[in-house]
Amino acid sequence: MTQAGMINTRTRFTFLQRLLHWLMAISIIAMLFIGVGMVSTIAPKYVALVATHKTLGIAILVLAVVRIIVRLRSGTPPLPLDLPEPMKLGAKLSHYALYALMLAMPLLGWGMVSASGNPVVLLWGIHLPAILPHSDSLFTLLHTAHVTLAFAFFALILLHIAAGLFHALVRKDGVFQSMAGGDTVRNG
């Protein structure tokens, strides 16, 4: 460990980090459910679901950028010393993947709507610029990636929840509490 000792002695993520984590947890899970739900229906709610999906997606993109900046500045509490190496590696890789998806999914969605030639309009009539040119092949590529990665994202979130609960219920090693908060005074 070469990071500052101050960081390594923390047992919790900072309050801001926890706030961002749980706000984004709710937003991203809602987002994935809205996404698969909206394409499953022709009911009148379809229009509102699509508009909400676009708006929430941009909100998640902004939150993801803020969160990554905060993460780079605040670091993380160390993982337990007795955590087996494969689990440490799994934790590290899965978190990189989660951050990558938080950024990539909204950008793919925004790019896909741009490439479709449709105007990019959010709730409350907010217009965003197209970030890519109108193109069949770009649209198809981004649409396929957006849909495929959505399922990968949900699978990864299930894995993340399972791992968190494993730390909480089986290992009882404080990793879950570092994000969940709990019975000790928060620090950071």
């Binding site: 698969v36 394409v39 022709i42 009148p44 649209f139």
Partner: protein
């Protein structure tokens, strides 16, 4: 680290498995994977596909069409009803598509009773208004679910399927009457195109007005029997509009019909009474025709929920259902670009 007995570990692992399974199950339910009867955009597109399969690279319905460009000149009269810039007096660029209802882009013109016009008007404030209109005065059925049932019945091998459908959806009789008796019109330029769906116009005070819109031709209407029309040739409509617009631009008046409080806005199978207030809001001018393969309308999704600020969806359930189905059709044909060649390849492809 607190250690625990193997038994309680097992119970914890079981609990984790239950949480993960519940999450996956809720996701599958939301996605409709556990509800095979749920109608999605994909279901509608599948129902529109003929037994011989889809025409790859083309729209899944209204597949035969031709692009146009032109202008919409607003006269300012619509500003009282909607704050959308498109109704402020001025000229705005238009692109669109004449078409008729068929899953087959090579279908002879006389095989379809329903013709349409897709329209996009763009305004300097960045707003885009898209609409897809058809020439019947009302829609065949009252709800999207009934439309899906109609597609199923018309594709069914059961000889009584249409009879059963008509009994459950009596509104189809009026459409049958129109399709059986309305004269055939010789040109896209002479057609009236009706939006049919009700939308809400929002004026500058924020008040909402339920409306429908139509494009009325300024050209003289020449009509004939179906037999006479068929004799004009399988591609008459595209050839005729190309030649006609090549000689002089063609014009339509955009007419907004304002609903009374008593008028149904959720049912496009019911026309509103003729004496409803009508406002002429401007003129559509079509001054250039281009083949679809290379034309500007090819990659445009004329999704009726793409609306400018000042127009919004009403309780009419069709725009949402159409948007869902159009999105699916669009995604399919975009991925099939190679099956519908552009450029020189397209020109060779259309020459027999």
């Amino acid at each position: 680290m607190a250690q625990q007995s193997p038994g309680s570990s097992l119970a914890s692992l079981a609990l984790i498995a239950v949480v993960v399974a519940a999450g996956a199950g809720a996701f599958a339910y939301t996605a409709g994977w556990l509800s095979p009867d749920r109608v999605s955009g994909a279901t509608l597109v599948q129902a529109l596909t003929p037994p011989s399969g889809p025409a790859l690279g083309h729209r899944r319905n209204h597949a035969k069409g031709i692009c146009f460009t032109g202008t919409f000149e607003a006269n300012g009269n619509g500003s009282e009803l909607s704050r959308a810039q498109v109704f402020t007096a001025g000229q705005y660029p238009v692109l669109g598509r004449f078409n008729f209802s068929t899953p087959d882009p090579k279908a002879p013109d006389a095989t379809s009773r329903v013709r349409g016009l897709g329209l996009q008007i763009s305004t300097p404030d960045g707003n885009v208004w898209r609409s897809a209109m058809i020439d019947p005065p009302f829609f065949p059925v009252a709800t999207p679910d009934a439309f899906y049932a109609l597609l199923q019945a018309s594709g069914s091998k059961d000889p009584d399927a249409m009879k059963t459908f008509a009994a459950a959806h009596p509104e189809i009789a009026a459409f049958g009457g129109w399709a059986g008796t309305a004269p055939w019109i010789e040109s896209y330029a002479e057609e009236t195109y009706n939006g049919l769906n009700a939308f809400l116009f929002i004026d500058r005070s924020g008040a909402r007005h339920a409306v429908r819109w139509s494009l009325k031709p300024q050209a003289e209407v020449k009509s004939m029997s179906g037999e006479e029309f068929a004799k004009l040739g399988p591609d008459h409509l595209a050839e005729e509009i190309t030649a006609r617009v090549g000689k002089e631009p063609q014009h339509w008046t955009m007419v907004i019909t304002v609903a009374d409080a008593s008028d149904p806005t959720a049912d496009p199978s019911k026309a509103w009474p003729e004496d409803r207030r009508k406002v002429d809001v401007g003129t559509l001018t079509v001054d250039k025709i281009q083949p679809e393969a290379d034309g500007p309308c090819r990659d445009i999704n004329f999704d009726p929920t793409i609306l400018p600020d000042g127009i919004t969806v009403s309780d009419d359930p069709f725009p949402a259902a159409r948007s869902a189905a159009y999105a699916k059709s669009f995604a399919l044909r975009m991925s099939e670009e190679k099956d519908y060649p552009r450029g020189d390849a397209a020109k060779q492809g259309t020459q027999p």
